[in-house]
Amino acid sequence: PPRRKQPRRAGWRARGRTRTVRSNLLPPPSAEDSVAGATKGERLQRLGCVQHVADNRLKTTKYTLLSFLPKNLFEQFHRLANVYFVFIALLNFVPAVNAFQPGLALAPVLFILAVTAFKDLWEDYSRYRSDHEINHLGCLVFSREEKKYVNRFWKEIHVGDFVRLRCNEIIPADILLLSSSDPDGLCHIETANLDGETNLKRRQVVRGFSELVSEFNPLTFTSVIECEKPNNDLTRFRGCIIHDNGKKAGLYKENLLLRGCTIRNTEAVVGIVIYAGHETKALLNNSGPRYKRSQLERQMNCDVLWCVLLLVCMSLFSAVGHGLWMQRYQDKKALFDVPESDGSSLSPVTAAVYSFLTMIIVLQVLIPISLYVSIEIVKVCQVYFINQDIELYDEETDSQLQCRALNITEDLGQIQYIFSDKTGTLTENKMVFRRCTVSGIEYSHDANAQRLARYQEADSEEEEVPRGGSSQRGSIGSHQSIRILHRSQSTKSYWRTGSRKTLGSLLDPTHHVYPFSPQEKDITPDPKLLEKVNECDKYLAISRHQEHPLAQLSPELSDVFDFFIALTICNTVVVTSPDQPRQKASHGVPPRAHDALALLRSPSVVSLPEGEHGSLPFRELLSGLRKMQQGASHRERLGQPTPAIASNGYSSPADSWEPEYPQEPQPKQELRFEAESPDEAALVYAAKAYNCALVDRLHDQVSVELPHLGRLTFELLHTLGFDSIRKRMSVVIRHPLTDEINVYTKGADSVVMDLLLPYDARGQHQNKIRSKTQNYLNLYAMEGLRTLCIAKRVLSKEEYACWLQSHLEAESSVDNREELLFQSAIRLETNLHLLGATGIEDRLQDGVPETITKLRQAGLQIWVLTGDKQETAINIAYACKLLDHDEEVITLNAESQEACAALLDQCLHHVQSRGSYTPEKTESCVNVGFSSLYLASATSTVSGPSPSLVIDGRSLAYALDKNLEDKFLFLAKQCRSVLCCRSTPLQKSMVVKLVRSKLKAMTLAIGDGANDVSMIQVADVGVGISGQEGMQAVMASDFAVPRFRYLERLLIVHGHWCYSRLANMVLYFFYKNTMFVGLLFWFQFYCGFSASAMIDQWYLIFFNLLFSSLPQLVTGVLDKNVPAHVLLLKPQLYKSGQNREEYRPRAFWLNMVDAAFQSLICFFIPYLAYYDSDVDMFTWGTPITAIALFTFLLHLGIETKTWTWLNWTACVFSIFLFFTVALIYNASCATCYPPSNPYWTMQALLGDPVFYLICLIAPITALLPRWVLEFVSDFSTHTAAILLPKDQQGAQHSGHKCTIERGHRAGGPGGSGPRVLQTRRGCFGSMS
């Protein structure tokens, strides 16, 4: 009874955060009911509270037509810079201090605001269009009026509506599954849109509805659903459904169809909408794009503050000057002194204050208003070019690099630490069965290895594109792993104490459908093993009807047989045939656990099978019979085997069944295995190579095809799925030959080995097998293979019944179901009998060792954080050249906090002492408390430049402790590379966070799976491997690359370019504005510090925006200070970005000094040239503006390394624009622009030879020092240039003149910092 259960309710209900959903088809409850509808009794009388009527409309737009302007402006004014500029512009409206025409002063800030607003508007419009499209998707909704399903738009769906979905339709809202065409009440959904996983997830009709025989009729649905308030937890859904009769049934996430998923393999389903629109879990999970601020931008903001300070200083200086000036001239009746409007004279202090404010207006150019907009434009263009780079395009997967974060391109050029996942990132995540050991005997599969080698060659030679759907490559990521993450967080303290096995992911939840390339499918069997399998098969075919067929086999052969059975069935692989859709099984009541329990209790309930597959009457009849038997004698059969039934009806000889069932998929016919993880599929393919083929998997049975035995159908009692805490999966089956209940377990060796029968329990043989297997496992790990142990347990009927009881309780428990299920699984997976182990190879991706070498040369520290076991990880590390055979490897495996601390001290001591004496072979690093197995790998070899560190998950947990993290980091910093094995997703992100915050280093995390998401999010730059669209890692990443090897070009070429371009552009911006403001400042000395400006207000305001902006943008986007091939050839050049050589404080100040000097020149040359002449203010100011423009362009010319026609065009255009605007402006109106009246000024100037003369001399004089110093510093690097290896010089084409030059410049000529050299072709064009 429901009432009794009430006190034990979980938090979600106790806290009253529930939502009640009822059918919309019922007459709407009256008002008073809705008020009174608090008690349960009334609700059960379906007169409850007001239906929640949220509709399913999607609205992601931020604005409406009306709200756009105010809202957008409001948002923009959150940016301090905008407020500042508006303040300045408004200051202009105060007559006493105004410097420009007030309207004109508003122009730039309005322009900037308008550009941003336009961008926002455009983004919002595209959101609107996408919303509109989605809102107007159609689906079938049950209509009360028409009493049938009618087509409605998505947006018209309300909570409480009944929706009918057909196969391949996208689910419009979160729907509670009430009916499915599937006779088992199942429904498959694909959650690719949600989390990128393309494997099918099973959803189940709400208990109580699945048993309905007739079609579900929404009109009869009167139950009330009580569930959680909308939340964003994709992995959890709790609730209950309360039927009319007061009965309750629990609702779980298995009952919920989530919006955005796709119905697969199910003809039609009906459900009631629980959450709609923005309340759906998918949308609640949809956080907006991340905004990251790049390192360079942070530095730049700091320099902007310096500029503000400078501005204030200049203004203050000027204000004081003006005050003094006023004091001097005030009582002297100076003719040029203008009194106040009332005739009184201005006091010096007031005048100084006015002057200060006006100076701030006049000198506002110093704070570059267009800097932020320009940077954004440049970044967008950089992103465009990175996206367009054909060398980052992966032919195989037809994907190019995606930049998902638009504003951190330059961070790519400053990375110091790379944190990489291993599986799927360094490796292909294409699992290939390599070798196995069964019953202590190793089968090396040499032929297989040779075949693989051949594939590899073929691959590299012709770059063969695997056929059909190969784009659906590996992805890791699933609900499961999310849950793991949560759990690991919640139980942090728990596993820290070491009592729980560290989380890891040998079989990391790589749930996915894997289409396999040939090398994974074709496995050449080992002849010896094949022979043994055949022997078993033959023998069993003969002896299958005997009482104990397996008993006659030798233990070894029995193990071989079990081993292959386990390989074949201990998984969740679904078999499909390429040309047929997945068949749906059609059986009656599924022997789900709870049903089975019901059967146990009331043997009278028997469901008759309802067959749909008329083509198989015989089989159905049999299965029906079996069901009946099962139901009737379940308990009995637990006690006594009934061989006749267990033989599954296929009593005909194996060689004669084929003609009878020609429509059955033949074993030779190509079957497709859809597996959740590539390991599983690899094992199934391996078993198939040994003629042990999985041919059919239904929810309750698995069929295996053997050449002699024919088809064996195993009754599948339970599947305990894989999770990365248990790190194993098990199936409970009834063996058709022996009718025993068998448990097959497959899992990580470290786990399975601990679950085996106690040593002395089963005698010598098993012990021997065990130690042999352990040896082989180590061997496999050394080879870099992923190892899995296969074990078996035979359950007695009593044991099974006992376990089943508790398991069913766990399954039906409402509250801590997962925990109970976990405990239940542990009870089952114990006392195992070891069968053997497999070694699966996960091939390295192409170019990984080369890439790692290059990245190393570029000064990047590479850390590999993997969930894999230590040996596997080390071997992969060796394979990808992360570890070198002649370098020292420090291995840190500690069992306790104290041991870890001691080890760290020891290692630190060792590392520090190494520096002093000559490297020698040392055994310095002892593995405290690690098993004998690892001692071998712990010895340090001859030390190279610096050792490498290998640490396992548990030790990492200790090392990441507050007390030890500094030591750990210090040690890790000394190491060439760091390898963290067996690390959990959380640990990964903790490591990244630690390095990022403590070492203040730029970090990059690269990974491909859900377990890397947290790490990717924490790092400064997150990179996802995008084998496939919509993956979780990609979703969380800033950049998505198709393969690991593209990282090289992304960082070394594009990162370097982006950083150097942006750094130079930002420096140039500061230089430009300072220099321009300098001109105005020097003038103050000659106008009584009155904040007068000789440069016309128009030029002042539009100079930055119009005349001088384009060339620097072009340079910022296109300039290449070093060509790509040189960057790739000499990755050391990357270090300039890491050391921030191009944009460091010294560079900034040097630029400022240079700007001051240049402005002095550009001011005083015209000053002296026009001294004591009849020149007027603007006829004198305009040449200064022109000189400034020429100086800027010339300066940019020195800064620009590569001049394309675009640079030329931009420069010419700038000059042309300036003169055109000046001419038009100066001719347009004689009286319009007070206070400046520049009428005909430019025209007059163009007739003045002095104008040309000063325009020629001033820019050249201004740039002479910079030029000379650039040359001298450039010159000084020549000596080093000579030391370049000859072969690299030889790499240049002989036809090209080869020049050497400094790689960076902004650091300034006076710099004594590390110089980087670069070679470059000295000729026009022809860069490749």
Binding site: F385, D389, Q400, L1118, A1124, T1231, V1250, T1261, L1264, C1298
Partner: protein, 364 residues
Amino acid sequence: MAMNYNAKDEVDGGPPGAPGGTTKTRRPDNTAFKQQRLPAWQPFLTAGTVLPTFFIIGLIFIPIGIGIFVTSNNIREIEIDYTGIEPSSPCNKCLSPVSTPCICTINFTLEKSFEGNVFMYYGLSNFYQNHRRYVKSRDDSQLNGDRSALLNPSKECEPYRRNEDKPIAPCGAIANSMFNDTLELFLVANESDPTLTLIPLKRKGIAWWTDKNVKFRNPPGTESLKERFKDTTNPVNWLKPVYELDPEDEDNNGFINEDFIVWMRTAALPTFRKLYRLIERKNDLHPTLPAGRYYLNITYNYPVHSFDGRKRMILSTVSWMGGKNPFLGIAYITIGSISFLLGVVLLVINHKYRNSNNTADITI
């Protein structure tokens, strides 16, 4: 958003990679622009490109400098400070304000005759015509002859906007402070003969053509100027109304008086000169101003002493590049020489460097 897009993809085109789908790939175009392979000139700073540039700059600048210097030196210019600070100066008496116009005469000698057109300037020092509030204190509309602005001048003219309820024309501080000394030049025929010849000074042609004809206009109307300015009053410092600025030429009165126009073009720097009169060349045979003694007759009105200002009278001939200015020539010669010297020094260093290494071919 990503979920939305995915959903859309799914609806539009089905799952990607479906067999028989379009062959459209995401392969980027292999164009020079998109691949950042545009042909580029790389003018990097090496000896090969920089050294010639230094020499070229030197070689171009030095001759230009010499040319300018010579031209500038050929310009005849004489400057007479008549502020009267020195007690010996004849104008010293005018420093203390006297109610009647103070007239003083300064004599000077031209060592060499001035050929061609001679420009007569007045020069002021320490006069901040570029002061911000001063520069703003004018009404361009009024000066352009706008009737409404004439009677209701811009607020910018405060406090020189109205005087005794009448609008000031021209309003503002600039107009109010207009230079109002009168300069006359007499040539002493010779030492023995004290007859003075008045040098004819042209009052017109000293302002910019566009100022005189476009920017400055008298209020429209056919009646006399006095009639057109009837509702206005003259600036407080002015002795004469605006329509009587030139007693000789009716067309040079009002806002289009060229002295006024010249004054209204505010000087850029506190030391400036303004064109006062033209002395036109009479014929080729006689120099415009022959060498000899001259008298400068000054009607001393303009008070500059109070703010430490100076007044000068300048006579100057012009060249193609305007007035006398030795600076530009010197600057060109200096920069040219520096550049050339740098070129030589760098060449020497480069040469030495190259000799010390055998891999000279790398760097040209």
